[in-house]
């Protein structure tokens, strides 16, 4: 009996370690690749304040105000959370300001703009090549483009099943909410 139990424990331990390793490794992979992690690769996301803003200790209305920051203060964005952005100032004050008070100014650090903000990823296992050299779409191209019926068919074939979409949303923690519409505000 003892022997059997010991073996069982051994196996359990082995399995547990394997499981833990898997979890740790995948957690690590997630952490490494999560596009939520900005700044990316040592790049920083800078922004300036659109108006005078309270720097709060916590991301909550009514939290303690660390200091008052003037409009146009340059800050580094560390993270976003709900209605708030975690930021630090040049003089190393850290805290939260309202996300809506942050403006970026077309000066993403690094050579090609958006790449400094995002993790680029390979386009799946299809082997479809990522174009060499970045290129935008042009209105000339669009205007002179043909209608590609095959693509239209392919698009239709990708359509989600409504039941499936609902089920997936639920699995991922999404719940419908009643939300009032926003009116246009005239200044």
């Amino acid at each position: 009996m003892n022997h059997v139990n010991l073996n069982k424990i051994r196996y359990l331990t082995r399995d547990a370690i394997a499981l833990m390793l898997t979890v740790l490794l995948s957690a690590n992979a997630l952490a490494d690749s999560s596009p939520e992690m900005s700044p990316v690769d040592g790049e920083t996301e800078m922004a300036s304040l659109s108006r005078d803003s309270d720097l709060m200790e916590k991301p909550e209305t009514g939290a303690k105000v660390v200091t008052k920051l003037k409009a146009k203060t340059e800050v580094q964005v560390i993270n976003r959370s709900g209605a708030w952005a975690e930021i630090s100032t040049k003089d190393s004050q850290q805290g939260y300001v309202r996300l809506l008070n942050l403006r970026t100014t077309g000066q993403a650090r690094g050579k090609t703009g958006i790449n400094t903000l995002v993790k680029s990823f390979k386009t799946g296992s299809s082997g479809q090549s990522v174009a060499t050299g970045v290129k935008g779409m042009s209105s000339e191209e669009l205007k002179s483009s043909e209608v590609d019926d095959e693509q239209v068919k392919q698009l239709a074939s990708l359509q989600a099943n409504v039941k499936e979409a609902k089920k997936e949303a639920k699995t991922n923690g999404l719940k419908t909410q009643k939300v009032p519409e926003l009116d246009k505000k005239e200044k």
Partner: protein, 314 residues
């Protein structure tokens, strides 16, 4: 002028239903200047239809539909909208085809469909696609088609950001911004051009005018919608994302990403030329939102499927 270029001839067929819309408008406002030669679509040197029979037929059917509308003063039907949307999407996807990645396409369709179900048009035939271009942009078509570029998709920090983009596009469709733009196109060169083309169609002499006119549909995507429609889609987008259970501030993060890209970057040239600046959009959105949606800010930011998508793809 004679058409020699098949490629050109082919795209003439596109905005059949725009023709209808404009004719309908013309009927409502008989005072429109229908015969001003100076009001042709600028910049198009098209020339006839050549031997593209198939396309001539489609063009003819465009006129037929147009005439039908002109006579009955009917509005565009949902079927017409859907057809128009497919042709516009087909044109965009000819320039930038769907990304060949089933997982990503299926993911975006599931997210988009869930959001669209919370809109005022849950029963449209919603279709979503990621198109393979570095360009950072998203497009929506009447009838329920939303295309997001790979460049845009890659820049998403969270699923809430993706939800913000899709909800913005869904709002354009639900509020019929594209269709309405055409209807109220008073003063636009191409409106007069379209009307004139159809008016002159009976003697079949000026088919190149019709051709010019029919390129009008793409104008929505190359010139952009009304600024106010973009602001409205931003307001509608944050609300719709929240209705679907997301943190409504996702779209704000996207606007900040866009605002951080140099205007000289070719990947945003089209977007910047067709939309108000990201700063303007945030200013307007901040005015409208204030703290009204803060109670929904603890909605979903990220999901397991989003993390898996980006982790696997890394």
């Amino acid at each position: 002028m004679k058409i020699k270029n098949f490629k050109h001839a082919k795209y003439l067929v596109l905005p059949a239903f725009l023709t209808s819309a404009l004719i309908a408008t013309a009927q409502e406002k008989p005072s429109s200047t229908l015969h001003d030669d100076g009001m042709l679509v600028a910049g198009f040197e098209l020339s006839g239809f050549g031997n593209a029979d198939k396309n001539s037929k489609r063009l003819q059917s465009a006129f037929d539909v147009g005439k039908k509308f002109a006579k009955s003063k009917k509005d565009i039907t949902p079927e017409d909208e859907a057809k128009m949307g497919e042709e516009l999407a087909g044109q965009i996807m000819h320039t930038a085809p769907l990304l060949e990645d089933k997982e990503i396409q299926s993911y975006v369709n599931n997210v988009g469909t869930w959001i669209a179900l919370q809109s005022d048009a849950p029963d449209l035939s919603w279709r979503f696609g990621v198109i393979n271009t570095d360009d950072v942009n998203a497009f929506s078509m009447p009838g329920g088609i939303v295309l997001i570029t790979r460049g845009m998709f890659e820049s998403m920090r969270t699923e809430a950001e993706l939800a913000g983009v899709l909800a913005h596009e869904i709002t354009h469709v639900v509020e019929k911004h594209q269709v309405n733009q055409i209807k109220k196109a008073a003063g636009n060169e191409w409106k007069a051009s379209l009307i004139q083309a159809v008016a002159e169609e009976k003697d079949n002499k000026d088919s190149e005018k019709a051709a010019n006119a029919l390129t009008a549909g793409m104008e929505i995507y190359t010139r952009g919608l009304d600024k106010e429609d973009e602001f409205a889609a931003d307001r509608g987008g944050v609300v719709l994302a929240a209705k679907a259970g997301y943190n409504p501030y996702g779209l704000v993060g996207v606007l900040q990403t866009l605002g951080d890209i140099s205007a000289k970057d070719s990947r945003v040239a089209l977007m910047f030329s067709t939309h108000p600046s990201p700063v303007d959009r945030q200013d307007k959105l901040a005015d409208a939102m204030g703290t009204k949606l803060d109670k929904f800010a603890d909605g979903v930011d990220n999901t397991e499927r989003f993390e898996v998508m980006f982790a696997v793809a890394e």
